[in-house]
């Protein structure tokens, strides 16, 4: 899993990535030094709670992707089945290209099988 995250982090514009469970617990993290892992975990948990609330109020639909844009970066969350891949990127990353790479890493992680927590 760490190899996939390390590989993903070599892509231009990607500042770090992690895998978290649906309740926000971080399973594997490869965030660059500028990010506090606890804060990243807290934000991941908040985003997941928000996404679940959205899904619930739209008729219990599962969330497949969550893209958040802020003034200095982006956060992309992809459903892996029983976990989520969370990627933090630069503000100016081209998402049309970046998302393909992130989805490809998510696919690899899915193929690795269910993540035992």
């Amino acid at each position: 899993m760490f190899e996939v995250l390390d590989e993903l982090n070599t892509r231009p514009g990607i500042r770090g990535s992690l895998v978290a469970t649906p309740d926000g617990m971080v399973v594997a993290s490869r965030l660059n030094g500028a990010f506090d892992p606890d804060t990243a975990a807290a934000l991941t948990s908040t985003l997941l709670v928000g996404a679940h609330e959205v899904g619930r109020q739209c008729g219990d639909q599962p969330m497949s992707r969550f893209v958040l844009v802020s003034t200095r970066g982006k956060v992309i969350m992809i459903d892996l089945g029983n976990a989520y891949l969370v990627v933090v990127t630069d503000r100016h990353i081209d998402l049309s290209q970046g998302l393909i790479e992130i989805e490809s890493s998510a696919q690899t992680l899915r193929k690795m099988g269910r993540i035992a927590v």
Partner: protein, 376 residues
Amino acid sequence: VDFLKRVKNAATIERLRDRAKNDGSPRGYVDLCHALVVQGNSAKALTVAQEGVRRFPRSLELADQLRLVWGQASRDELLDLEKKAKETHSAESLRALAEHYLNVEEFDLALETAHVLMTHHEKKADGPYLVGRALWKRFVRDHVAADGTKTLSMLRHAAALDPKSFDTLHLLAEVCFYIGAVGKGVEAAAAALAVDPDHPDVATLHGLLAQLPHETLSEADLIRAVEETDGPWRGYRSPETRHKSEEPTAKAQIARMLHQVSLFAGVRKLAFARDGHHMLARDGSVFEERRTPPEPLMALTGTFRGRIAAGTKHLGIGAFQEAEITLENATVLAFGGMNAVLLVEIEPQARTATIVAGCRDAMGSLDRAPGGPAHV
């Protein structure tokens, strides 16, 4: 034919310029900038993009446009400035480079350069002043408490190095007013007036501050409040509105904006929340939400305004702007502004790009820059 083309191009620019000036959303600036680029006038496009970003600091499209045009119009100038700064490390060259970055709203690069200036010229006030200015601009855009705290400490450091620096004292007074530190604001404005007693903007600012009751909270608490509410202190008045008796009411503008967005094909419903305004819209009908518990989409706006907005700031990626949540049979779009959130539930096959552009314009119209000293 060439003559007619030129006349037509000039008329187009004139029309778009009028629209940008009068339109309450970033769209006018984006279109004008685009037209200028197409006509090969990158330098003017850069000026327009700069003006637009100053007016609508959180507009994603304008920020992208500015970055794009900056790359086209200022590459040679930038390379020249970078070369000079690297070779000489002189205060002038570093200041010029930092100013260049500030002019195109590249705050992180401006900060980096200003820090180099501070390191190489410790005794000069230019370094801390520029760091303070870059942080102030970022603070006004993102409302991250750490930026606000550092802005004040850097400006005070600059004022200590050069107590007669009008720009530093003026900006310090403005920052204090922005966060609600009235007492310190009066002191800084008075100090600025002592340097330039005839400056009308500072005189107005000083007059305004002098009438206000002094704060009861500590500076750290005031800054934290700005971060949490994602907006300036309630009593703050931007330079443009200081001469007016009242801020225009926003309610009608919000209702009109929600009505327009709700009419887009594929939009199921939307919820808007801002201090005192909680509105829902569906199929062109807009109504205030006063139920307890509120509609689920409205309840979600609280998550975005609270935990998600705070989470992005604490993580160090600035202020929340937009989000797209893809579900099996729906997509939910979220747009953040100065202390406002708009959530839109759309059908999966809806034209997301069109709706996003409409929502950005709508939110942009509510999200004008709170201002600051004109020269900053």
